[in-house]
Symmetry: C2
Subunit: 307 residues, 2 copies
């Protein structure tokens, strides 16, 4: 029951020798989701031991090249690998047109389908769900339509306390009712409240990806109590004006968003190429939000299961 984020790229638009543009692999319950796909994403997946064929869906925040140029080569390579499973891509318009051009020029005989789902970047909507998790869009404030993504486990099913089963002599039918969240009436007429019989085996976990964006109180509020927040911090605090003008954030903006959301941990990235050492950015953010960590390529941030 994994819940982990592997950093594949942490640069902003100008890549450097050691930093690829934005991309992450989110592993939830052994299903992989690609979040943004800057140039080189497929090679980074392989480098960090993630089979590209395992990517279930891709979530693209916005259509600047440094967040999407790596998706098209990945689509081609998955074809060479013989993928048959459709690949769902969640991205703002006009991604469908770009995809059409790519398929027309490079992949006329792709052996699997790429299915585009439009992300409406101004609304907080449910984009994707399966039995155990869901992904929501988070409207962001960038120069072009842009949405972050909130990955959330669904509440796990209730467990029934074994000692209570014995204590009250519960039948299979009564146990099943308790698992559904119902109170249970005993033969004596006594009603045992569900809360006394059951417990959640673990707390539902969550991860928010917020890039690229100016500080947005609305976005932070939509990530209430998130376990892990990735927030771009392209600039140091002193570059507030550059950040604002270009639709980006400073370290202070990222820390403020994490504070406002009540996040447990913050990871910053999308560093401008001017910062050779990201530690100074991390140190700045830590002044406001001590649990700040750097997006370092190859590092996996795991959210542990807690009861």
């Amino acid at each position: 029951m994994s819940f982990a984020v592997t950093i594949l790229g942490c640069a902003s638009a100008k890549p450097t020798v050691n930093r690829h543009p934005s991309s992450q692999a989110v592993n939830i319950h052994e299903q992989y989701y690609l979040v943004d796909a800057g140039e080189g994403a497929q090679q980074q997946l392989i480098r960090y031991g993630i089979n590209p064929l395992k990517i279930r869906a891709a979530f693209i925040s916005h259509l600047h090249g440094d967040h999407v140029f790596g998706l098209f080569p990945l689509i081609s390579t998955l074809g060479l690998y013989g993928r048959r499973t459709p690949l769902d891509v969640y991205a703002p318009a006009p991604f469908g047109e770009m995809l059409g051009a790519h398929l027309r020029y490079f992949d006329t005989e792709l052996p699997y389908e790429v299915v585009w789902h439009e992300v409406a970047t101004t609304r907080h909507t449910l984009l994707f769900e399966n039995r155990t998790m869901e992904v929501w869009s988070i409207p962001l404030r960038h120069r072009v339509p842009c949405a972050g993504f909130l990955f959330r486990e669904k509440e796990p099913p209730l467990n029934v306390d074994k000692f209570k089963i014995v204590k009250y002599g519960l039948s299979i039918a009564q146990i099943t009712a308790a698992k559904r969240g119902e109170d249970v009436a005993l033969e004596t007429g006594e009603v045992i409240p569900n809360g006394e019989l059951t417990y959640r085996p673990y707390r539902a976990r969550s991860y928010a990806y917020l890039s690229d964006t100016n500080f947005s109180a609305r976005a932070a509020n939509l990530c209430k109590d998130v376990d892990l927040m990735y927030h771009e911090a392209t600039y140091a605090a002193a570059e507030q004006r550059s950040a604002r003008d270009r639709g980006h954030s400073t370290t202070t903006d990222a820390a403020k968003a994490a504070l406002k959301a009540g996040a447990r941990r913050l990871v910053i990235g999308h560093y401008s190429s001017r910062y050779k050492d990201e530690q100074l950015l991390v140190d700045e953010a830590r002044e406001l939000f001590p649990e700040t960590w750097p997006a370092t390529e190859g590092v996996t941030y795991t959210i542990e299961k807690e009861s």
Copy 2:
């Protein structure tokens, strides 16, 4: 007066952790030319100390993604760097359409011009020249229209032998005539043949890039006496059938092409991902053509000036 080739990528279509798809930087007289541009080409340029802004022109052999996906991100980044100089791109059709789509979706405000020059892949034609060098297309045999490129120094201007100037008491006018290749008539009426007065300061150097292709005697013949030949060798000799069916070459094909051309050195690359160690491919080619070397990323093959 450099003449050198730096390997940026040596993989075939499926990249591996250590191998990027095809790309090379050719440095002729301190002007840089990009030859093919697989994904990651811009980062590879930076990695190996070549300023992407110095790229004068790009030569794209064919429009398979592993030879061109890296060009579009490079075009974007050069815009961020503030390039003003036009970038000439030599590529087969319909590159112009692809470029149009790229500019429309990603670079509507590019501060420099990208100028597409169509390469007619069935003809051996002069594509580009300046005062000291020229680039010719070499028709290749691949699954899609594909051309290699022959980079050739022009013959350097004649030097006049200092000792002969003294011996015959040549005037400035006579020296200039000799430099133009003319015989010189002395005041005595004696005519000194140009060959006695002048010499070439160095031999014109050449480099041929042949990828992707089946073995082609015609291509080899067009590269007569080339100093350095890059020839793809996707497969080992035993995979002759796979190579032929897919429009690729084996190590034997590459060695045969080098032999037929009378090349001085051969570099092989575009290795299938099945070969973890390229040495076995090099060893195979060396059986036929001993001066075979591997396309290893970051390695620069220099053609020294010789008189």
